[in-house]
Amino acid sequence: MAPMTQEAPKSTREPTRSNRGVPMGAPLVAQSSIAPAATRIALQDINAFYSEKQALFDVNLEIPDNAVTAFIGASGCGKSTLLRCLNRMNDTIPGARVEGRILMDGTDINSADIDPVQVRTRIGMVFQKPNPFPMSIYENIAYGPRTHKLVSSKADLDELVESSLRRAALWDEVKDRLGKPGLGLSGGQQQRLVIARALAVSPAVILMDEPCSALDPIATAHIEALIDQLRKHTCIVIVTHSMAQAARVSQITGFFHMGKLIESGPTDQIFTMPKVEQTQDYITGRFG
């Protein structure tokens, strides 16, 4: 666990001038050195509807393990809808309907004999706005393990809380005030708290819906460094409005427009030699 420094590299938020689409100084390994890992989630012919309105059209995509997959595209393009399909959060919206197959490790998460609660236990989610529960820092982390009875003793729970906070690079900042309210933390700390909360139930996949859009650049750099750490053991899917962020943190990028997946592939390829003109236009800022 590398210690997190308070000072983030200043360059991480500056627009890129390099032809790789990756800002210089970003705390990342070169994109091309990532070997494609096994597929964790396979999307086959996904169509999604909100009542009569179709939000996604025939999406096919393979999401690899141990990598960050970024969904980019203009507002309303369906990228958040797709993300919410992956852990069946759309089930909670009246009138929402999903067609097609979402195979996680070969099992269709939408099949009738699958309990959505089990799906969500294996797939964690981080939201746009940090949403710690109105309880102490400790209780926030302990919520998941307690709900799923993952630990049998107080000592085990203490240990799990600590390891989760450490993995979210928050432990050093909160270890002396675990009993204090989670809502008393700063925005960036709150976002790391809810990431730790998700990690506490050891999810195989973590979905992040614009996790940095409510944060300042320094907090954003913290979260991005954290995402890079976490992907070594997890499959991460991130929706982002920031193309620079997609370029910095992801290995796979999918570009969405009007509910369709226009193009997907290795991030460096999408950002340097997109095959579709629409992608090129979006990435270079000509529309969207």
Binding site: T121, H148, A198
Partner: protein, 290 residues
């Protein structure tokens, strides 16, 4: 200001004038309310404090000249209001949870919400008559239990309404977060939503208790009142509002004075409940929001 045209200046001053006028009217309205409340309190204390002595709390109601007190009415009120709240508050909370978390905008929930609002605004004398029909006549007599039931029926819709309102104020983000962690619906409500709304719900319950503590009409037809000391819930039971009702119009100065004292006691009690409810809200909010 120099560059403004005369028309713009005129409009500016007119807006300023209207602003001050409206502000003044609001202050006036608030002032009238405060003065009336102050007058009521002053009247209560000036008439009620004189009759306040130990025998009010130790002696039951008695004939004029026999040094009667209000002990039986105070205890009767505490028992009936307490039992009424114990029945009405949990029922109301469950209705509120159903409306906010389960039924939401469904047809049945809309019907329940509508009926609850009718119950909320039903004249309390009607509640009394209803309970008379179901709990007094069939059992052959007035009773403390019937009184408690009628108070519970008044408290329930109040608690249901405030519970629903407070639960709707709980951010959806909490529910999403809990659902995304693999919580079931009942776990989301029990472990996240209800604790987050606890202070507000407690406030609603306290306000409902304050409301039923002063109810007279429903008790007239249910627990009737009792001049003797009695804690038997199956028998007619005394209560402060009914004691005030009977004494205030009597011909004996001693009884009238006791009525004032009783009215003052209820008002002080309600005031304490209201203050408590503010504290409960602030205390819980402070604990969670840091």
């Amino acid at each position: 200001m120099k560059q403004l045209s005369p028309a713009t200046r005129a409009r500016y001053f007119r807006r300023q004038l209207v602003d001050r006028l409206m502000g003044g009217l609001c202050m006036l309205a608030a002032g009238i309310g405060l003065v009336l409340l102050g007058l009521i309190l002053w009247m209560l204390f000036s008439n009620g404090l004189g009759g306040l002595k130990l025998s009010v709390f130790t002696n039951s109601m008695a004939q004029p000249g026999a040094d009667g007190g209000l002990a039986n009415a105070i205890v009767g009120s505490l028992i009936q209001v307490g039992l009424g709240a114990m029945i009405g508050a949990p029922l109301g909370m469950m209705v509120g949870v159903y409306l906010s978390e389960v039924g939401k905008e469904s047809t049945f929930a809309s019907v329940v919400r509508f009926v609850n609002d009718i119950l909320l605004s039903a004249p309390s004398v009607l509640i009394g008559l209803f309970v008379y029909q179901i709990a007094v006549e069939p059992f052959g007599g007035f009773s403390g239990i019937a009184g408690s039931i009628s108070l519970a029926l008044i408290a329930m819709p109040i608690v249901a309404r405030t519970t629903e309102d407070i639960l709707r104020l709980v951010p959806q983000a909490y529910r999403d977060g809990a659902v995304a962690l693999g919580s079931r619906e009942n776990e989301v409500v029990r472990k996240v939503v209800l604790p987050a709304a606890f202070g507000g719900i407690l406030t609603g319950v306290l306000l409902a208790v304050a409301r039923i503590a002063g109810e007279t009409a429903p008790l007239l037809f249910t627990s009737l009142g009792n001049t003797n000391w009695s804690t038997d819930m199956t028998q007619p039971m005394a209560s402060l509002p009914i004691a005030i009702y009977r004494y205030a119009g009597s011909a004996y100065d001693e009884w009238v004075s006791l009525a004032w004292t009783g009215a003052m006691l209820i008002t002080v009690g309600v005031l304490v409940l209201n203050i408590l409810s503010r504290f409960s809200h602030a205390a819980v909010a402070g604990k969670t929001e840091g």
